[in-house]
Symmetry: C2
Subunit: 389 residues, 2 copies
Amino acid sequence: MKDMLRFSRRGDALVGQEMFKVLDKAKTLESQGKIIIHLELGQPRFEPPLGLINKTKESLSCKEVGYTSSYGILSLRKKLAARLSKKNLDIKVENIIISTTNLLISQCLHLLTNPGDRVAVFSPTFPSYIASSNFLELDLIQIPLSFDKKFQLSIKDIDKALLLRPKVIIVNSANNPTGAVYKDSVLNYLKEKCREKGVWIVSDETYSSILYVKKFFSLLSAQYKNEIVISSFSKIYSIPGFRLGYAVASKPIIDKLALSNSSLISCNPMFTQKGVESVLDNDSNYIFEINKKLNSLIAEVQKLLLASESLNKFFIQPDSGYYMFLNVSKSKLKSFDFCNMMLEQYSVACTPGISFGIDFDNYIRISICGTREDVLTGIKRLISYFNNL
Amino acid sequence: MKDMLRFSRRGDALVGQEMFKVLDKAKTLESQGKIIIHLELGQPRFEPPLGLINKTKESLSCKEVGYTSSYGILSLRKKLAARLSKKNLDIKVENIIISTTNLLISQCLHLLTNPGDRVAVFSPTFPSYIASSNFLELDLIQIPLSFDKKFQLSIKDIDKALLLRPKVIIVNSANNPTGAVYKDSVLNYLKEKCREKGVWIVSDETYSSILYVKKFFSLLSAQYKNEIVISSFSKIYSIPGFRLGYAVASKPIIDKLALSNSSLISCNPMFTQKGVESVLDNDSNYIFEINKKLNSLIAEVQKLLLASESLNKFFIQPDSGYYMFLNVSKSKLKSFDFCNMMLEQYSVACTPGISFGIDFDNYIRISICGTREDVLTGIKRLISYFNNL
């Protein structure tokens, strides 16, 4: 057989997300009988809205198991348009597509870039942007934000990104992993400058409904110039396994994303979309309760960290989301080694900072969306490690 | 704003599948109150296995709505490995990935090719191969098979494809749209020659469980050299909306496909996979019944066509699947115009042959997976058109 039988260059380059190695190791330990505290996953342990589950089951009972539109089902798009239009915008059905959020990120980058094109992110950054950029053979530039500025985006950071003349800037406020919600004035500057210079913005607003601060500024704009806003139903309704989210953009973009869906996946299931649709108009209590629980838990976590002399200067209070980004440089370990050590010696799984950007190998991400007991036990073990250094 | 704000080259090239235009038009007519006979969709109207639906609902009731493995859930992979191993092969869990079949086609091509690489298909061919190849900027070569040879693949066709030195050959037996099941000897020749010359084979065997002939030859091989076999649960269980299928290949390929999943979609839902898993060991009655119904319907359709002097020499008896590929050259219309005419004047929706390859603009595909009444009515109207010519 000829040795021509190899992966392609882009096949070889596909290395996936290193962060899953910690999860794999945790699972191996669990299969050996160890009890592991999971602080590495962004997997909500909350019960999803009961109505959503019931409606999904009802749709299955009605055998709604056929093909649907590549745009997502019309009734869900209509309701979402009405919901988003409440924020003083005129969002139309034609500006919305329903699909898997992760896939939408890749699809947007696919539409807007050719291999080798430059894409800028502000790091630490969601690993999917890095994975998508690798998949699409892009030149990904990471502009690092600083711990000292609470990982806030500044006008200087935006100027730095724009100087590199990217085709696309991906911005993620509320941020995973730092929890930072960026300022109105800064995001407005980003929007203006990108319009002026003809740079696309992909704004991932997945965590915008889980807030510890009062204000969230969306890049959603009914003018739909160069902005694509992406979000997810995974976190807001605790249903990551539904694999559903949406993009809001100008009609030509949405039409291209639908063509991309028709080429790659045909469509998404109808029953999952019906489930989400059924709670969309009546979710404020659910979201309020989730926020209350997370607010109370994050307050307890912060109390523990503030009381620890060894860690109280090494974390940032998050504005939003499930995560905290901790500086673990005191350990003198690289982030992967730190996470391996925590897993082996303390049975606590965390995500290495290096997964979120090349400049963050002395950080870890911890997730607080598990059960209260697990989260607090995990944090106490982390503190105990640092106290014993 | 600068005019740099455009789609990329690959974004511009994304044109999707023309065949959906007929469906769109049919929907518009229906919204105006017209009753349309649908012979254009590969959407089974059979009830899915009740156990499958119930297990999916049960999994939802158990709130199994979290992230799962990028490989698919282990229990389903195990059962599938055991099932496939029954055919005298030793298929291991590590050789199986569960995902959306359409996406798997693109993902395989992505792994194995770089932009501009040559991929060969035998046409008429499933439009998704064409769409995926466009999406990935490949040089797709269509080797046309002939009506006179009942759209059977021959050794000569294989030699013709190999002379063009493709990186990958996609083969689809049982075939959509012709229904042809290719001969053992020919597929064995393809396998041997491709191994010898170092060409990858992607074998799509989605329709292999719906047979009107006794024998189906699979390219599944426990040696896993250069073969990737892809299939789907959509047709076998009448659940296209579940978007689930699988690939069987060597471990390095499966590992890369899982990395690709982790980059693009993270994972598939657990509840849909649990549903499929629940019937996998106990589906022979269901598949027998589906085959019986389709066998009886296809016999009626053929009787009608054979009795029609204007059409009896213009169709091929399918060996498998939902489809028949009809030569409509007598109409002197191009396939799109023919389908538009049938839709407007006879309220029957069919799929234009051009969607299945550049050489088939005087063909249409009709699907017989709708209700018996619809299918027979549609066929009668087609015959009546040709009789009135």
